[in-house]
Symmetry: C2
Subunit: 211 residues, 2 copies
Amino acid sequence: MLSEKTVERLSEYRRHLSDLQARGVTHVFSNLLAAETRVTAAQVRRDMMNLGLSGSTATGYSVSDLLEHLAGLLDHPHSTRVALIGTGNLGRALLAFFRARPGKAVIAMAFDSDPEKSNRVCCGCRVYPMDSLEARIREDEIRTAILCVPEQDANAVAQRLVNAGVTGILNFAPTRLKVGDQVYVDTMDISSVIEKVGYYAVRGTRAPGRK
Amino acid sequence: MLSEKTVERLSEYRRHLSDLQARGVTHVFSNLLAAETRVTAAQVRRDMMNLGLSGSTATGYSVSDLLEHLAGLLDHPHSTRVALIGTGNLGRALLAFFRARPGKAVIAMAFDSDPEKSNRVCCGCRVYPMDSLEARIREDEIRTAILCVPEQDANAVAQRLVNAGVTGILNFAPTRLKVGDQVYVDTMDISSVIEKVGYYAVRGTRAPGRK
DNA sequence: TCCAGCTTGTGACATAATTCACAACGTAAG
DNA sequence: CTTACGTTGTGAATTATGTCACAAGCTGGA
């Protein structure tokens, strides 16, 4: 099992590798990949080692090899189709974002409790009423969800998602979700992050431990 | 200088402490604060130690003391007034978010290159044209900015922000900003995060090292 | 008064993450 | 062929981060 930090780096490697491939580059050295991202060449090589990939001292790593392995790790059918809960400002921003930047992951369905918003199409995505959440998520075997509901509803909705089979939640509500240990939750707490940025901004420095 | 992880925890402590204070609680034990967040009691005590704060074995830590010290660290005048660049879907979502949840940080001004959007008020915030960016940021001594512009513009705008005196950037463009080491950047890369969530979702587990 | 039962503060330890540094490799040029 | 150069793969060292465990503190009740 790879660590979170490793998975984050892999995702970033992939973006640059796709770029390189689009530009016709077939092989890449660890130091080039490292320069694009913010890691050291040794870190890149270590990650490749953890993935069981190897390169050649003469030509470096094969771009297509790397992309293939990364796709195998990151593009599971259950992870690329995600559900979005809540089509408020943020939810719509995310719908637009995913539509504008068609990566592997797509928002396959959206839900909203407001009858005004559901049973419509928003940003190219069908919005369903909350009643149908469990049924539709089960039917499509969705495992990954983005939670954009108000803070006070977050836990209840999260519970419903888990009951419907969701095992990974990207939570935008500034609250800690109480779900079982078998469910992965990443909370993006904007208030918290902006406080962190402010903290280092007034001190005029990068955080300790950053390159 | 506190580490990023520490600052993140402090921010979270503060949210819960505010709650407690609002409910009239005056003192708190490390284990209670730990239960609310996702850390151990020892971690809470260690953080307090790093902050130079102390509690009493009988009553725990004083909520107001903690809040006061945390405010001293997190609420610098230069960090609570932030500029927002780009009022697309995401930018508007953030304006609405900060307006709906009035914490210490507020979006003091917004900018957009589209003449249709600038020179108006959006979500309660005045939107200025990009031309005036440097002047207004300098005048208000803004040090912290949220970047919500398209990927291809991100680096150019970041450079302008830094020239205008900004030293902390919360970047939503999925690209690494090339700024000097004295500028703190936190990139929230949604694509990357959703891939991470998907990775652990299909494997049905929390990441290693999570409690 | 004195003890039981909780707490804090913290040195020591444990674990995770990253970097160093170097042997082994492979190519290109001479 | 052989040397010079730049690379990979990786054990070891280093740094960062989190936890343990326990002495010492405080309070309330017997």
